[in-house]
Amino acid sequence: MNNSSKLKRVLEGGGFAVTAECGPPRGANSDVVLKKAEMLRNNVDAVNVTDNQTAIVRMSSIAACSLLKTAGLDPVLQMVVRDRNRIALQSDILGASALGIRNVLCLSGDHHIFGNQPQAMGVFDLDSIQFVQVVRTMRDEGKILGGDDLSQPPDLFIGAAANPFADPFDFRVIRLAKKIRAGADFIQTQCIYNLDRFERWMGMAGDRGLTDKAYILGGVTPLKSPGMAKYMKNKVSGMDIPDEIIKRMEGVPKYKQREEGINICVETIRRLREVPGIKGVHIMAIEWEEVVGEIVERAGLLPRPVFD
């Protein structure tokens, strides 16, 4: 088994990459992770594993990534700076690489007030940009923060997130530029529903030459119902869902709403493929991993490339 990042090989080979998201269970059952692995196998190039998303305690991202790796998938380890200081972050980076994990996505993390441990101490010792820079220095210079040498550097393809839909809009591209300068090899964006705004943001990124410096993957999430769309629009900060999307979901009978959500998702991916500078798509089907295969197929992205 080749032990390098499949995601990296697809992107460096000029392919249009497909990644999906896998949320670990709220328990110690490995079978849940392995079941999701089977839904995603051969449909995507790499699988992001979320890190206690929405600040709800779940199986650790590193453990779930390791299970996916053993099952023959290419995991993307999501790591948030909310729960670990710089000692723990750097230590887990080394541990992840030792386990054969080859991709990391460096994030701030949802604030802990939203989750089931609102009394927790939020760490935030590093921010996500500093974290990207630390991982890059560990990998490329073999040094940790403070300059001590590593006996062996980690082997990781480094990612960061971008949200073109948060404010202030004009600053969003500056922040993207900082993440790329800090060392992000690839970027996965927040879920895209407002394609006009996304295209404006990509245009600004292209003007700054950023689309040549990192691989940008557009994020999509299939909607299950108009209620979900409204919830995301009104309750999830940094989410932009145009009214016409909600109307479209409301305009079909209830039993067809999930199908309509998938239709919108497939259309979004088809349009994203035409956006200059976009190098792939990241499908976040929240607790709905079983539809990823259908979405990828209908978007014309199968079969996925196979490497020796």
Binding site: H111, D127, A162, I174, A177, S237, G238
Partner: protein
């Protein structure tokens, strides 16, 4: 200033229950400015406690006094003549005031009547906001006079995060996004390009590197 809020009266009553002769001790400095533990609030708390004791038929002596500063030994020493009269002190000082009294009078239990909250400013009448974390390494000149360490919910030095919408923080629409304020302010100065810099990880040893911090100034010592 240091801000605080009085604890609920039931909690205070429970804490002082074992004692019969109680001194309610206010402080005329920060906690007076934030209307939690000054002379007025001290008199009101003492009176409330006396009334509650009377209603329950408890035989308790409750008296009050307010020091100019409870965190300065020169003022705390003024209790020397009266402290023996009491078997407990209920302090409305901040955490520093409570401990200064405890340090000086080791025989008497000191009970906190307020929850010390934060270093902040009086924004309006009856409205105080947190603005400083006392990190020991001030960076306000970089950020247009707005502190991301104290005022960003995630303490980002390279913000704003993806949860900033319409100038509001993701944790609560009542909370302004500190980074939105920073971006607006630096735009006004024509200094937004400053934020193209990647600010390195903060040196937290300046805050928590060696246990409780102290400042020693020989030029100020006699």
């Amino acid at each position: 200033m240091i801000t605080g809020e009085q604890k609920p009266i039931d909690e205070i009553r429970e804490m002082i229950a074992p004692y019969k002769r109680i001194l309610v001790l206010g402080c005329a400095s920060c906690v007076a400015e934030c209307a939690a533990g000054g002379e007025k609030e001290t008199a009101m708390l003492a009176s409330t406690l006396r009334m509650a004791a009377k209603m329950k038929g408890e035989d308790v002596l409750i008296e009050e006094k307010t020091l100019d500063r409870q965190c300065v030994r020169d003022f705390v020493i003024l209790l020397d003549d009266i402290i023996e009269k009491y078997d407990a002190v209920l302090s409305l000082g901040c955490g520093a005031g409570v401990q200064a009294v405890a340090e000086m009078f080791t025989e008497v239990p000191i009970i906190p009547a307020i929850n010390t909250e934060f270093l902040g400013e009086t924004r309006d009448q009856g409205y105080w906001v947190e603005s400083c974390l006392g990190c020991g390494d001030c960076m306000l000149h970089h950020f247009g006079g707005i502190c991301p360490v104290a005022r960003c919910s995630k303490q980002l030095l390279n913000g704003p995060c993806g949860g900033s919408m319409d100038g509001r923080c993701e944790i609560n629409p009542d909370v302004k996004c500190a980074w939105h304020l920073i971006v607006d302010r630096l735009t006004k100065f024509g200094a937004l390009d400053r934020l193209e810099n990647i600010y390195p990880p903060k040196d937290w040893s300046r805050k928590q590197g060696g246990g409780p911090r102290k400042i020693v100034r020989e030029d100020q010592q006699k």
